[in-house]
Structures are given as structure tokens and as C-alpha cells.
């Protein structure tokens, strides 16, 4: 039977080599040593929980939130989304030659988390749906002379719509694109259609519940990129003033909205699935696929079904590891109620999620961005007839990164993510437990959770594409 899963993203012509055993061993050893050091050298009062937000120059804030700047940013966002949809609908179906796929799934999907950590929530001003929603809302207020009324958002739903949307987005990216039992990857046309459907859905929800409310809870990309922005130090306060605080401090208040835990678990799980389907899960997915195919289900449906099952298994697995850790912490004397612990440590997974992203997509991002700014920019439709900026004949220099450079970035990201996760967990524990000794004891559990995630991440890298 002609069947295989793609060795990497359908977009990319070069796949990463699995990390060698010696590097795996070194990485894991460093993780263990750092972890034990963290246990013995922990601080006793929370350092990130009560950090103050300090305003930066008022002039800069005024410029950044001024109407013209907001309007220009919004217009850029709308233009780029429109360009991607247009390219997807009208351009070539070759995934690597069409602007749409690289722009949506690499430049934005992988670029915004990175920029959000460094510069704060940069997606917000460029969010095309928010821009449209605000413009429509402003127009309505102008004509009707009053602000539009909204339904009250069910608070218990919290960020659950975003968590579901996140899974759906990644499902579309790496599961849906199957044909004849072969995971060929998503084509530009269905990606453009999906973007239009999502636009309709998002604008409807914004009309129902209000633009800002939906951006905080249901709009997948605002919630997802905003989560990573919490790791950095720049943020606007409620009055729209730009300020900065200690890096990581903003993460401590992120998970107070219901469903946040599901968002961060979904973001780890989707990366786990994408990494594992190239190695660790490959045999098992093939097995399940063959069962379905033998049962008389069509090849494409069989492949989608088996991949979907393993994506859900990844989600449940990540959730299970975290919940075991929470359950363990709850057994320590003086622990807060289980529900409070469960959401209370959710933000400690954000750095793990970011580390997984870097580990799995760093090389893809570096290579594919070369395409983005050369031929995809000059020839967005991939028709080989346009050359807007004279860069259409450019290409990807695959020699830019050696295998060793990729390996060190991958393992380095996981180790740093691990350390930051530990720092946040330790800090939260000192806030939850009045008694320092009990707080330290509770952290054996989170330590085990973090070691599990980090070593599993390295394991995935060591068997990827193997």
C-alpha cells in the first residue's frame, strides 16, 4: 500500500536530523542537575506575583494608541490577510510556491509567538478581525449615535472556544491535508477557504459578544499569541499606557480566566503531535490507519481519523501528566483546593509550550522565511510571471544552518524553557503555601512534571524523522 506520513512539513525540502544520543544524554543530565539546584536554592517569598508595572514614556504610548497608527496597523493586517486569501484562491496549488501557506502557517503562526515574547502583544494592533470589528463598531456608533449592545459572554466558557479553535487550526494544518491515504499537507485553496470561514465566524462572534471580549476569550490567534506575550515584559495597561515589568511577571495572572489551562495544554499537545507523527507515533498511526483502511473506510478518511485520534491522545497525555502533578501537589500539607491548584500552575506551562515551538519549528522558520522574503514576496501567486520586488529568482539557502546548530538550538530551547517553567512554579508555590518547607515539598511534583515534558521533548527530537 502506498502510504507514508510526510517526513516534515510539506512546505520544506530539508528535514532535521534526529538529535544524536550523546546530545540527548547531555541535555537530560543538565536538566536534572539544574532541577536539583533549583530545589535547594529556591527563594522564599514570591518574586513575580507582586511585581509592579512601570509606565514607559507617555509620548510613545500616545503615538502607539493614537487613532491613525491603530488604523494603519489594522489596515496592514487586513491587507495581508486579504493577500493570503487571494493567493490561496487564485494562485498555484503548489504549497511551497504559494504565498498563502508560508505566510499563514510560518510567518504568522510561528513568527508572532517569537515577536510577542520579545516585544509584547504585537498581534493585537495588526489583528485584521479586531480592526474590522472596531471599524464596524465605530461606524455603527457614529450612525446610531450610541454604542452597539452585546450579549453578555458566559464567563464560565472563558477561553474554551480558543482552546478548541487552536486544536482545529492545527488539525487543519497537519491532519486535514491527506489525499488517497497520503499526508500530502494542506493545499493553498482549502487554507484560503478556511481563512474566509474563520473570518465570518470571528466577525459574527465579535458582533454578538463585543470585539475586545471575543479577542480575550475566543479569538484563537489573539489568545494564543497573547499567551506568549505574557512571558515578555512589555504591556499596555487598562488605560492604554505602555509600560514594562519584570519578564514573566505578566504570566502569573494569565490563567485566571477559565479554559486557560486547556489553551496551554492544546498548544503543547499540538507541537507534540506534530513532532511525534514524524517519529515516535509513526508506526502506531500507520497501524491504526491500516485497521481503518482494512475495515473498508476510504484511505483519506482513514488517515484523517487515525491522525485525529493521535492528536487527541497527545492532548489527553499532556493533560494527564500535568493533572498527576497537580494531584500530587494537593497531597502536600496546607495545599489550596484542587481546582485552585489546577488553574494556579497552568501558566508554568507557557515556557514549556514556547520551548517546544522553538525546538520543533526553528529550522523550518529560518529556511521558510527566506522564501517568504524572496520569491513568495515577489511572486505571491507562484505563477512565475510576476516579479514585484525583483526577488522572484531568490531561493532558500539550506546551508545556512548546520545540523549541529539546529541541534544546539533545539536542546537549548528545551533546557531554558524547563528552567523558566521551574522558576514560575516555584514562585507560585511560595505564594500558595505560607510555609516555605511545604512549598518546596510540593515542588517535587512540578519538578517531575517539568522533567517529564523536557525529556519527552528531547526524546521526540531524537526519534524525529528516524
Amino acid at each position: 500500500m502506498s502510504f507514508w506520513l510526510p517526513t516534515a512539513h510539506a512546505l520544506l525540502a530539508r528535514s532535521d536530523l534526529p538529535i544524536p544520543a550523546w546530545l540527548f544524554a547531555w541535555g537530560a543530565s543538565i536538566v536534572l542537575i539544574v532541577s536539583f539546584f533549583a530545589l535547594s536554592a529556591g527563594w522564599r517569598t514570591p518574586r513575580f506575583e507582586r511585581d509592579h508595572w512601570r509606565p514607559l514614556g507617555a509620548g510613545l504610548s500616545r503615538v502607539l494608541i493614537s487613532r491613525p497608527v491603530q488604523a494603519i496597523c489594522g489596515a496592514i493586517g487586513i491587507f495581508l490577510l486579504g493577500l493570503a486569501v487571494y493567493a490561496g484562491l487564485e494562485g498555484t496549488e503548489a504549497p511551497d510556491r504559494n504565498f498563502a501557506l508560508t505566510f499563514l502557517f510560518v510567518t504568522c503562526w510561528l513568527g508572532f509567538p517569537l515577536f510577542s515574547v520579545v516585544f509584547g502583544d504585537v498581534f493585537r494592533p495588526f489583528n485584521p478581525w479586531r480592526a474590522v470589528g472596531r471599524a464596524v463598531g465605530g461606524g455603527f456608533a457614529l450612525i446610531a449615535g450610541q454604542r452597539s449592545a452585546h450579549l453578555s459572554y458566559p464567563e464560565a466558557l472563558g477561553r474554551w472556544p480558543a482552546a478548541v479553535g487552536l486544536l482545529a487550526f492545527v488539525w487543519l494544518e497537519i491532519v486535514y491535508g491527506a489525499s488517497g491515504g497520503i499526508a500530502v499537507g494542506l493545499s493553498p485553496h482549502p487554507a484560503a477557504v478556511a481563512a474566509l470561514v474563520y473570518t465570518l465566524y470571528t466577525l459574527t462572534m465579535m458582533a454578538l459578544f463585543g470585539v475586545e471580549k471575543w479577542c480575550q476569550t475566543g479569538e484563537v490567534f489573539s489568545v494564543y499569541f497573547g499567551m506568549f506575550a505574557r512571558l515578555g515584559s512589555f504591556a499596555f495597561d487598562d488605560e492604554g499606557r505602555l509600560g514594562r515589568r519584570r519578564p514573566l511577571a505578566a504570566a502569573t495572572t494569565w490563567a485566571t480566566v477559565p479554559g486557560s489551562l486547556a489553551v496551554v495544554i492544546a498548544s503543547i499537545a499540538t507541537t507534540v503531535y506534530d513532532g511525534a507523527q514524524e517519529g515516535a507515533f509513526k508506526g502506531a498511526i500507520t497501524q491504526v490507519f491500516e485497521w481503518f483502511a482494512d475495515a473498508g473506510i476510504g484511505l483519506t478518511t482513514s488517515l484523517r481519523l487515525s491522525a485525529t485520534i493521535f492528536m487527541l491522545i497527545s492532548f489527553c497525555g499532556v493533560a494527564l501528566v500535568y493533572l498527576i502533578g497537580v494531584r500530587g501537589m494537593a497531597s502536600v500539607k496546607g495545599a489550596p483546593p484542587l481546582a485552585k491548584l489546577r488553574s494556579g500552575f497552568a501558566h508554568t506551562l507557557i515556557p514549556i509550550a514556547f520551548a517546544y515551538l522553538v525546538a520543533h519549528y526553528f529550522s523550518l522558520f529560518v529556511f521558510q522565511e527566506q522564501a517568504q522574503f524572496t520569491y513568495l514576496l515577489s511572486d505571491p501567486l507562484g505563477t512565475a510571471t510576476t516579479d514585484l520586488f525583483g526577488t522572484a529568482s531568490g531561493g532558500i539557502d539550506f546551508k545556512l544552518l548546520s545540523a549541529n546548530a539546529i541541534w544546539y538550538v533545539q536542546v537549548g530551547a528545551l533546557v531554558i524553557g524547563h528552567v523558566i517553567g521551574l522558576v514560575l512554579a516555584h514562585d507560585r508555590a511560595t505564594a500558595c503555601w505560607g510555609d516555605y518547607r511545604q512549598a518546596a515539598r510540593s515542588q517535587y511534583w512540578m519538578l517531575a512534571v517539568m522533567v517529564a515534558f523536557t525529556c519527552f521533548g528531547m526524546y521526540l527530537l531524537s526519534v524525529a524523522n528516524a
Binding site: R14, W22, F24, S29, F398, C455, N465
Partner: protein
């Protein structure tokens, strides 16, 4: 840290180290296995098991009905080697080496040979471009 918990953490560390060493062994075994099967699968002429430096046997990938005989061929090289292989096909198509971005047409019933230096590390697909059929996977180790 109390004494029992110290013992527990040390045991955890020990268990993990053992697991790691075990994983490491697995990895290298799998590597060698893959290399040998790769050479066997793709070499139709050379059935001699050579332990000493073999005269470079150029692997041939045979295409029957538009698909590689014996599945996707695995070709392993180290950076700096010369990558050589031949594709013999019963269908006309274009053989495309991804990453290195080399493409040569092959006529039905004919063959085409590639020879180029392994100067990009990573894993690359070789594909029958028109059929979108992967026929080989080239691995270039650092």
C-alpha cells in the same frame, strides 16, 4: 530537604540516567541497521557483504509501475561524501532531489544518474515530480 526525599530524588535521577543510556544504545543500533538495510534495499547488483572499504557501488533505484521496487530507498551519507545514485524507470517522469534542488528527466524504460557532493546536512526527499511519488530519502549526517 529531608533525608527520605533526598533518597527518592536520587533514585529518580538514577532511573532516568539508566533510561537515557538505554535510549542512547537503541539510537545507535537503529542507525547502523538503517544504513545496512538502506544499502541492501537499493543495491541490486552488489550482494557481497563487504566489511572493508567497498568500491563505491552506485545504488540503483528501480521504478516499476511508477513506484520504487522495495519501497522508499534509504541512502545515507556523511557531509563531504559524493552522493551517487541511478534511477531506472519504466515510466517517463522527472526525478527531483529536494533541498539540493536538482532535477533530471527520465524516459520510460531508461535511466538517469546523479552525482553531487553532500554539502547540505539533513534529510531530503527524492521524488518522481509528476507522480508526486517519493522514491528515496537521502540522509546527510554532519
Amino acid at each position: 530537604m529531608t533525608y527520605p526525599s533526598k533518597v527518592a530524588t536520587l533514585l529518580l535521577a538514577l532511573a532516568l540516567s539508566i533510561a537515557l543510556v538505554a535510549c542512547g544504545d537503541d539510537g545507535s543500533d537503529a542507525d547502523t541497521a538503517a544504513t545496512t538495510t538502506g544499502a541492501n534495499a537499493t543495491t541490486t547488483t552488489g550482494d557481497q557483504e563487504t566489511k572493508q572499504k567497498p568500491a563505491p557501488v552506485v545504488p540503483t533505484i528501480v521504478i516499476r509501475d511508477g513506484a520504487p521496487v522495495g519501497g522508499v530507498a534509504e541512502l545515507d551519507y556523511n557531509a563531504g561524501d559524493q552522493i551517487r545514485f541511478t534511477v531506472r524507470s519504466d515510466v517517463a517522469d522527472e526525478v527531483h532531489v529536494h533541498g539540493y534542488d536538482l532535477a533530471k528527466g527520465v524516459p520510460a524504460g531508461g535511466s538517469v544518474s546523479f552525482s553531487f557532493p553532500a554539502d547540505i546536512e539533513g534529510i531530503f526527499e527524492v521524488e518522481l515530480e509528476e507522480r508526486v511519488e517519493q522514491i528515496a530519502e537521502i540522509t546527510v549526517n554532519p
